[in-house]
Amino acid sequence: MAQHQVNYLKDGGLPVALTTIDKVVNWGRSNSIWALTYGLACCGIEMMASGASRYDFDRFGTIFRASPRQAELMVVAGTLTKKHAEFIRRLYDQMTEPKWVISMGSCANTGGMFNTYATVQGVDRVIPVDLYLPGCAPRPETLQYAVMMLQQKIRKEPASRAQKPKRLM
């Protein structure tokens, strides 16, 4: 008897995969992170290099979009000036939920070397940040690792429920 036990949770040779809705949705979300191009300074060059053929972001499903309506990840790559702060907030608000933010490089994290009147001392004063990426500028491998960390984070989040909206304040 026991020799012919069927494990119904395995596919049993049938083209069927059993899983949870959460995993399917998160699988889709984490492997199609469309990023808003947000190159503000020299980090933007590294971000572009990450998207180009040598480092090839497309294999992670990360495709750069020029519109916030089509994007769910904002890679803030570079120095955010105080004049620009309100526009980054407006573009963040225009992105559809769920959305994530990677703060790339020292300038975006803390203002970096620009300890001056004209620079926002860290983008987290304006928008909520999920991942801080150190470096000046971080190499493309670092940004790739950050995206992989973000994928892990997305997979941990419950997808079936409405996402808890992130609020800075």
Partner: protein
Amino acid sequence: MRAYTPKDDVQKKSYYTDRFWVAPQVAKSEVSDDAVFAADLEAIKAKFDVLDAYIQVEQMVVVINANDNYAVLELLKNDREYTQLSEMSAIDWLAQEGKFEIFYQILSMAKRKRIRIKCKIDEKEAIQSVEKLFRSADWSEREMYDMFGVVVNNHPFMKRILMPEDWEGFPLRKTYPLQGDEFAAWYEVDRIFGKEAREIIGPENRDPARIDRYDTKRFSRLGHEVPFGADISQGEPDTPLVYQEQEGVFMIDKFDAEKSVVISDRHR
């Protein structure tokens, strides 16, 4: 004996200062040394007051009255072939003399000569625009207004060019603090969230060397990452770098070195 100056704050400065440093002056020579410049200066002197004139680094420097700035540049452009304004701006001498120095750097491609026209104005005084003569003065004068607060009369579009239009203060004045005043410190918070959000967001951290070993909101240690805001005063666990969850990811095969194949013929 050298006059005493207080040196108490030297230790507090984060950068090196040489307290015995004397600003070097480039040697000046007479305008009559150069025939081309001498003729130009004569043309100016025939119509306008010249307060000072000399040659420095092969350029003639002419100090004039601020009221004559447009007329002198018009003369130099139309009659003396100085057809380009390569640079113009102001210098803040408010602390020393209570005046701004305005300079116009002009170039003659035909003569291969450069002249610098200088004039001084008071803090509240306005200067005549030279935008009608040189189009390049358009943005330069706006920048001068933006950075120093020097008002330019008859300018076609007298607005700030670099800073936001609702900015307060003039950043390149010597009295403006490098890290900004109260207005600058809260600018983006006031602009986006409103003044009532100041308490929630908190002041800027302007100390680049600030490190708090147990702060898990602003710091993390590679290989020892913990959740945001966790208490690590009792030590934190090791978290080795991983690219994927240990149990694997749904519908994605984990790379296995045992099952991988090394391709010997790369042209197969």
